[in-house]
């Protein structure tokens, strides 16, 4: 009898110890969210505010999840892949964060995705656009939110081939991102039966685009596609205007934010680009978010900021559904989840490749005379549904490893 009692006591104490060691800490330790983004490099003007968007999402969620306050930290990777890799390692190991958000720059995004896989903690990529994150390099712990290069190129590509003209000329930034976009743009054009009259590969950071503009003029296209971003987009557009090309053709961009337009005046007027969201959107919660943002920063958010807000909110809701902050249950709660929020209406997180998909918007930059309100630079001229804007998950090349 005594021995039986002992055995039961032993079992109980073991159970309690186990409970204390394993289960309790998971509940008692607060959830720690982190944003890793570019705050001082070339994309800082667009992405630095993602930190604020994440903070706002946490505050709007009530600052608490599963009864514990949410901790938040952020790191600057200066747009350098090696720094991103090291910071991600630090965040997962030293800071013990539960999740990393954002990470612009595709090479940086891939590095962080690898760290996520090693540490078995989620990474929700927003800023990095490479299709590899939800393609050949996909993994169980990495999600891609709001857009990718395929969507940027295909949405406006299909729309432009149908509405602007079928004779195109492209000027491409000569690095992986540009090449990737060129591939997707040409596919979209081919699908609509158009012809690519010519392409120019231009070194990154070229300040004089005039020779390429001249070549494009000689080819006499209907649409000029500029596959570049930031200062390259500004310089090439400015020079297309200077040489009078802008009067003859429609210009389509790969990536353009409201901040770009604010920084360069009317040179982008009448140009087209794909966007994942626009601040005039009437998706649920969008108006409130914009209102709050404007009050705090005196300007509306760009779509990267909105995407960050959406991703953080969806992650927190998944934690609530999973009733734990442990990686795998949260990932399972995210997989296949359908929702409507400020960014995606409707939105879905595909289980096959971990791509969060929603509508893609075709944005047309307004003429200065049409701009009635400061920062209201775009007009939504078309909406491409998710199944057209994103690649079929069977074709992305993603082989999701579902072993646990």
């Amino acid at each position: 009898m005594e021995r039986k009692c002992h055995a039961i006591l032993m079992a109980c104490s073991l159970l309690i110890t186990f409970f204390l060691l394993v289960v309790t800490p998971a509940v008692a330790e607060p959830l720690k969210i982190s944003v890793l983004t570019d705050m001082s490099g070339p994309y800082a003007g667009i992405t630095a505010a993602n930190v604020e968007a994440a903070k706002m999402a946490i505050a709007d969620f009530g600052g608490k999840v599963l009864g514990e306050p949410i901790e938040f930290i952020y790191r600057d990777h200066m747009c350098k892949p090696d720094v991103a890799n090291q910071k991600a390692k630090e965040l997962y190991e030293k800071e013990q964060v539960d999740v990393i958000f954002d990470c612009p720059n595709s090479a940086a995004g891939l590095a962080v995705a690898n760290q996520a896989k090693i540490h078995k903690k989620p990474f929700i990529a927003i800023g990095s656009g490479t299709t590899r994150l939800s393609g050949p390099d996909c993994n169980r712990y990495t999600f891609k939110w709001a857009y990718n290069d395929y969507m940027l190129a295909t949405a406006v590509g299909l729309w432009a081939a149908e509405n602007l003209g079928k004779k195109w000329y492209t000027i491409t930034a000569d690095y992986a991102w540009g090449h990737d976009l060129l591939h997707h743009f040409s596919e979209a054009l081919k699908a609509k039966g158009g012809t690519l009259l010519g392409n120019e590969m231009v070194a990154l950071g070229t300040s004089d685009f005039s020779p390429y503009i001249l070549k494009a003029m000689n080819a006499n296209p209907e649409v000029l596609v500029l596959l570049n971003a930031g200062k390259d987009a500004v310089n090439s557009t400015k020079q297309a205007m200077e040489f009078g090309l802008k009067k003859k053709v429609k210009i389509v961009h790969a990536l353009l934010f409201i901040e770009d337009i604010k920084a360069s005046g009317d040179i982008f007027a009448d140009d087209y680009v794909t966007g994942a969201w626009y601040w005039k959107s009437d998706n649920p919660g969008s108006k409130e978010f914009v209102e709050k943002w404007k009050k705090q920063f005196n300007k509306p958010p760009n779509w990267m900021n909105a995407a960050t807000y959406s991703a953080v909110t969806q992650y927190l809701q998944a934690v609530e559904r999973a009733k734990t902050k442990d990686a795998l249950p949260v990932i399972k709660a995210l997989e296949g989840h359908e929702f409507r929020d400020l960014l995606a209406n409707p939105g879905k997180i595909r289980a096959e490749d971990h791509m969060e998909i929603g509508n893609a918007y075709i944005l047309k930059a307004k003429n200065p005379s049409e701009i009635k309100e400061d920062w209201d630079f775009f007009e939504i001229v078309g909406v491409i549904p998710p199944d057209k804007a994103y690649q079929d998950p069977k074709e992305t090349g993603c082989k999701m490893d579902t072993t646990e």
Binding site: S40, A44, G45, I46, D174, E200, M201, V202, A203, G205, T206, S207, D208, S210, P211, Y212, L214, K215, N218, K231, V234, N235, K238, Q239, E242, F243, G244, E259, D260, K262, A263, S264, G265, D266, I267
Partner: protein
Amino acid sequence: MNLQFVLMQLFNGLILGSLYVLLALGLSIIFGMLGIINFAHGAFFMLGAYAAYTITSYVIPNFWLALISVPVLMAIFGAFCEMLLFRRLYDLPPLYIMLLTFGLMLVLQDAVRLLFGSMGVPFGTPKSLTGMINLGFMYYPSYRIFLIAVTSLTAAAVWLFLTRTRLGCIIRAGTDNPRMLQALGINISKTMTLVVGMGTGLAGLAGVLAAPIQNVRPLMGMDLLVDCFVVVVIGGMGSLGGSVVGGLIVGQIIAIGVMVWPPMANTLIYLFMAAFLLIRPRGLFGREAFHE
């Protein structure tokens, strides 16, 4: 590739070359007189562009006013930098002053970033210079023609000033041997202030002229600065004629490179510089004295 395209591209090379000439002239006279490599020169160029933006959008929306006032303001700014900062380090090894100018560059860039944001600011072509001019054999943007005219006039004026006036004579003598000049009883410290002011003013002018073609960004000077060092090295350290010829050569190399093999266009100038230095280590018009 037709003839018109080639001609147009050569003109584009001239534009790029003109900007290099303005910047390299300033770098060169400062190097000659003070014996320092001014890393802040690109930042001065950027500051000129931002000054032009500030004047045209907040004071009086007039490009011409900016074109005249910015070089003057920048010259005053440069003179102050010399009097307050550079001067204190003349007696120390040259490395110190190089570090100072490097730090100054970082401070100016980040100050502009704080004030105006990292995205840059808009700057349009002045209304009276938009459109194209028919040159007989081709159409060319009028602003670019104007840019070539202004830089040639400025380069000529600087040339005349340095070769035909007494002050210019002192500066040239100072580039050769500052100590001897001092021994002859000439106030060299005032001349140094003037030289730095002049160099900064030229960088500011280049900034105003470049603003309508490129965009105005905090890092716009960085891109040009490295190319300008190539110009100065090819032209010969401290040689004024060398800056002019070197600037035009580098502009054309980039322009021709873009026509023939675009991916290599920006690398070509470094290859050219390396090859050129093997044949002529002191550059085009450099004096041997600098390479002791």
